[in-house]
Structures are given as structure tokens and as C-alpha cells.
């Protein structure tokens, strides 16, 4: 009898717990809901009636979204494009080159490999502020009108405009900044890949070598597919980092020409005395919708990737 009571009591505590956590969850979502309701509210009411629904005279329809598109002297779609471009290219570069290097480092035991590996581990504990000034100056000096540009000029090729930014890969443009991300973000990726490659039995690669695969083919047809789980983890960590990063692109890019979403949103407040909060909230909503969709689609991988990255600090 007592046992039965105990079970019933436990079930009751579990239900209570579930309800309590459910309430906390609702509170947790409130900030996002506040963004949603305020993005449909006329600017003048955002500050005074932040938490009321946009009804009656407060209702702004989609005007905040339309205004937000060109708000701040810079079209929003351009920021979205550059953010997407930089995130995809940087992540792809990091995944390809760090996994290649990690495989080599894990399989070849030489001084150079060890040096690169320890430098990478070291770079993980260096905060960005340590290198931000010199890194942005380095990027500028290899930027437009730089060595490559001058060289091209000497060869009689005068290049300028967006085409030149694309062709010459100056580091201070969205087309060159993935190289900066590759350099500054290599540490964690190499660390995670080396750890994983070391757990792959060597016999598989030896079999491939006996079957006549050269190192390049061994890597791309045998090792690369096996790295998939770590690829996903590293990829997600890099996507989250690059997409949300503010300071690095802000310091490296030419802000008048190129902006990412975080820079765009920071500039809404930064440059004007009075901010159109309604339009700001509309843009914030637009910028978090894709993130939330991405999260709901790959939730399993994201949580796994984050946990894997955390263990390494």
C-alpha cells in the first residue's frame, strides 16, 4: 500500500515539475514574442507600450518591414547576402582545409606538424582583442590597392570596382574575409579533427594504399567520408560563430561597401540619434527567423556539435 502511495506521489511531483518547467519555457520564449509583437507596432508605441499587442492605433501592418529594408542608408538584402556568402564560404573553406591538415598532422609525425598543432591549440585561448588591431591592419594592407592590386596595375591591367574585389580576393572584402576566418578559426577545427582522425584505424588507409590509392585519393575517397560526424559538429560551430560574429567583419570589411547582418543592426542604432525601434525589431525578426528554422531542422546535430565543441573548451 505504501509503495503504491509512493508511486502516486512521484507521479504527482513529476506532473508538477513538468508544469513548472512548462511555465519557465513560456517565460523563456517571451523575449522573442516581444520582438514579434513590436515589429508590427508603430514606432511611437514601442517604448511606451512594449508589452501590449499591436492592436488598434498601434497596428503598423508590414510598414516596419518595408521601412526596414532601406533603413540606415544600406539595403538590408545586401547585408543578408553578404552574411550568407561569408558564412557559407568560410565554413566550406575551414572544413576542407582544416580536415586535410588535421589528417596529415595525425598521420605524419614530424616537427612541423607538431609545431602547427600546438600553435593551433594555443590560438584557441587567444581572445580576439589581442589581435584585432593588427589583424584588421594586415587585412587592409592586403586589401584593395594592395600588393596584388599594384602588381596587376604594373602589368597594365587596371582593375577596380566590385569585379576587382572579387577577382583579387583582397582580405577586406566579403570575398577575401573567409581567408581571415580560416586563419583565425583554424584552431578549434584542427583540434577536433585531429582527435577524431586518431580514432580511425590506420588499416583502412593502408588497404587503400595497397589497392593503389595515392595520398590524395586516399584522403578524398576514403578518409573524407569517414569524417562526416566531426564535419557536422565543426561545421555547425563555425556557422554559428561566423553568422553571429560582429567585431571581426566590422573591423576588417569596408563598412560603407559591405555589411553583415550584425553590423547592419548595430548601425541602425549607432549612427542616428533617434532610432526607429519598430523597424529595428522588424529587421531583428527577419534575421532570427532563418536561424530558428535552421535550428529546428538540424536540432539534433546542433546540440551534439555544441556539446562536442564545449568539451574541448
Amino acid at each position: 500500500m505504501k509503495e503504491k502511495n509512493g508511486l502516486a506521489a512521484e507521479r504527482r511531483t513529476k506532473t508538477i515539475l513538468s508544469v513548472v518547467l512548462g511555465v519557465i519555457c513560456v517565460i523563456y520564449v517571451l523575449p522573442v514574442l516581444t520582438v514579434v509583437i513590436n515589429s508590427f507596432k508603430l514606432n511611437t508605441f514601442v517604448k511606451t507600450d512594449t508589452f501590449s499587442l499591436p492592436t488598434g492605433e498601434m497596428w503598423a501592418g508590414f510598414s516596419n518591414f518595408i521601412k526596414g529594408m532601406t533603413f540606415g542608408n544600406y539595403p538590408f538584402w545586401k547585408s543578408v547576402f553578404y552574411s550568407t556568402f561569408i558564412t557559407i564560404v568560410s565554413t566550406a573553406l575551414i572544413l576542407l582545409f582544416t580536415s586535410m591538415a588535421a589528417w596529415y598532422i595525425a598521420r605524419v609525425d614530424s616537427k612541423i606538424c607538431r609545431a602547427i598543432y600546438y600553435l593551433c591549440v594555443f590560438s584557441m585561448v587567444v581572445p580576439f582583442q589581442m589581435v584585432m588591431y593588427t589583424l584588421s591592419k594586415t587585412a587592409d594592407s592586403i586589401g584593395s590597392g594592395s600588393t596584388i592590386g599594384n602588381l596587376a596595375g604594373k602589368l597594365g591591367l587596371s582593375v577596380s570596382g566590385p569585379l576587382a574585389d572579387f577577382a583579387l580576393l583582397p582580405l577586406n572584402t566579403p570575398y577575401g574575409i573567409p581567408i581571415v576566418y580560416l586563419g583565425f578559426g583554424a584552431g578549434l577545427a584542427i583540434f577536433m579533427f585531429v582527435g577524431f582522425v586518431k580514432s580511425i584505424p590506420l588499416e583502412i588507409e593502408e588497404a587503400a594504399a595497397i589497392d593503389g590509392c595515392g595520398p590524395i585519393r586516399t584522403y578524398f575517397s576514403v578518409v573524407f567520408p569517414m569524417l562526416r560526424p566531426t564535419m557536422i559538429s565543426v561545421g555547425i560551430l563555425e556557422i554559428m560563430w561566423v553568422w553571429n560574429d560582429y567585431l571581426l567583419p566590422y573591423l576588417v570589411l569596408d563598412i560603407n561597401k559591405y555589411r553583415t547582418i550584425p553590423i547592419h543592426i548595430q548601425y541602425l542604432k549607432g549612427s542616428y540619434g533617434t532610432v526607429d525601434l519598430g523597424a529595428t525589431m522588424a529587421l531583428i525578426l527577419l534575421s532570427i527567423i532563418p536561424v530558428i528554422i535552421f535550428y529546428l531542422c538540424c536540432q539534433k546535430y546542433i546540440i551534439k556539435g555544441v556539446a562536442a565543441g564545449a568539451v574541448k573548451g
Partner: protein, 301 residues
Amino acid sequence: MKKKKPSSGGGLRRPIQKWGWLFLGPITAAFALGFVWPFLQGIYLSLCKFRLIKDAQFIGFGNYLSAFQDASFMHSFWYTAVFAIVSLVLINVLAFTVAYFLTQGIRGSNLYRTVFFMPNLIGGIVLGYIWSMIFDGILSRYSTSILLETKYGFWGLIILMCWQQIGYMMIIYIAGLQAVPEEMLEAARIDGASKSQTLFKVTIPNVMPSITICTFLSLTNGFKLFDQNLALTAGQPFVIQPDGSSIKTTEMLALNIYNTFYGQNTASKGVAQAKAVIFFVLVAGLGLAQLAFTRKREVQQ
């Protein structure tokens, strides 16, 4: 003559090494450009007086002296330290509690986990603006603002960081809690241990590695915080010192370094770089302490 024993990859080794330039080349070049060179140059410039890199003049340790004598830097250091410790305690206690309850097999655990983790994907700048709207929405009823009082700025940032980080730490704690052997918990139950005894004597000692990781992570996150700080208060309110300089009362270390670099005083770049080196030593020290701590624990197990 030292004869090297053929390593386990003997048969594979020679052909790979011919391709070393291909496998290591791109990453080494990018790494040298994006990290090694700026890092070394940064150390050198912290010992120089400069407005532009090309007219840097070596002056020794003067910049470090100025950095330590800078009242705003010392203020931001203590502010950051207090912030990091308060946020560390709150985030970890709350995250562990949530993780503990979510592993008790209650209904809706997965949904709750999804919701709690969600704020992590939103970037720091966006988070800052969301919360500054919310806090101002509340505080405007009392005709004040988050920018007007240091304590509002401090607790506002704490609330923001809790909202963002609890889900992250919770994930690590859940992984740790799920790895506690079921037999151990059952043995405790059979021996008549109460729920709280089981929690403190069995569960917590077993998740110590997760606790170490989370503690250090939240500590270094607190120290390195920048985006959220910039977007929420950007250091406001300011206090004017007797000597005319101002202290930004809610400015943390990273933001202080940034403001010293890119603020109005263009002659202070050397000092800013020295501050950055001090900041690096501090953060790297925390990172290495974590490594040593985890290593020691791994040996013990």
C-alpha cells in the same frame, strides 16, 4: 647515428609526405596571415608608441605602466571580474537544476530542452537590442532607463547572459548526468539513500567533469564578453572624473580595450595594445588552468 623505428604508418608515410605542401600549405598560409603575424606584431606594438603601424617607436614597458594607471581600465577589470563570478554562479546553478529535472523522465523534456537552448543561436548584438527594448519597456514606467543607472546595466546584462547561456550549459550537464551509471543510482536507492543524498553523494561527484568544464566556460565567456555589452549599454552611464576623464561604469574589459583603440585619443593605441596583451594573459591563464584541472581529474579517474 640514430635509427628511427618505422612508425605504425610506415608503408603510408613516404608518399604522403611528398604532398605535405598541399595538405598543410593552405592552412599554414591562412594561419600565418590571420593569427601568427597579427599576434607577434601585437606583442611588439604593445612595447611601442604609435598612431600608425609604420611609425611605431619602441618605448619599452611604458604602455603597460599607463595601462595599470588607467582608472577606467582598472574599473572595467573589477567590473568584469564581479560580473564573471556572479554570472558563473547563477548560470551554473540554474543550468544544473534545469538539467537535473529534465533527466528525471518528465513529460515534455525534449520540447523544453529545445526551447532552453534556442537563445544560444541568436547573436550577441541582436540579443543586446532585444533586451534593451525589454528593459526600457519596463523601466520607462518608472521614468528611468537601463542607460541611467549602473546597477540596471549590471543586472540587465546578467539576465541577458543567463537567458543565453543556461541552455548551453544545460546541454553539457545533461550529457554528464546521462553518463552517470544507472547501477550506481540503483545501489544508492536500495541502500535507502534519500533523493537529496543520492544527488549530493552520488550524482554530483559523478558529473564533476561537466561541472569543471561549465565553470571555466562561463568564467572565460564572462571575461571575453563584448557584443552583448556593446549592444545593451555600451558602457553607459558615464561618470566624469575630477581630472576630466570619464569612466564608463558598465564597460567591461573587452569593450574598454576596443574604446582605447578606436576612441577619440589616437595617441593611446600603444596603451590599448598593452591592455590587449594583459587581457590575453588573463584569458589564456584561465584557459590553461582549466586544461590543468581537467587533466588532473582525468588522471584520477
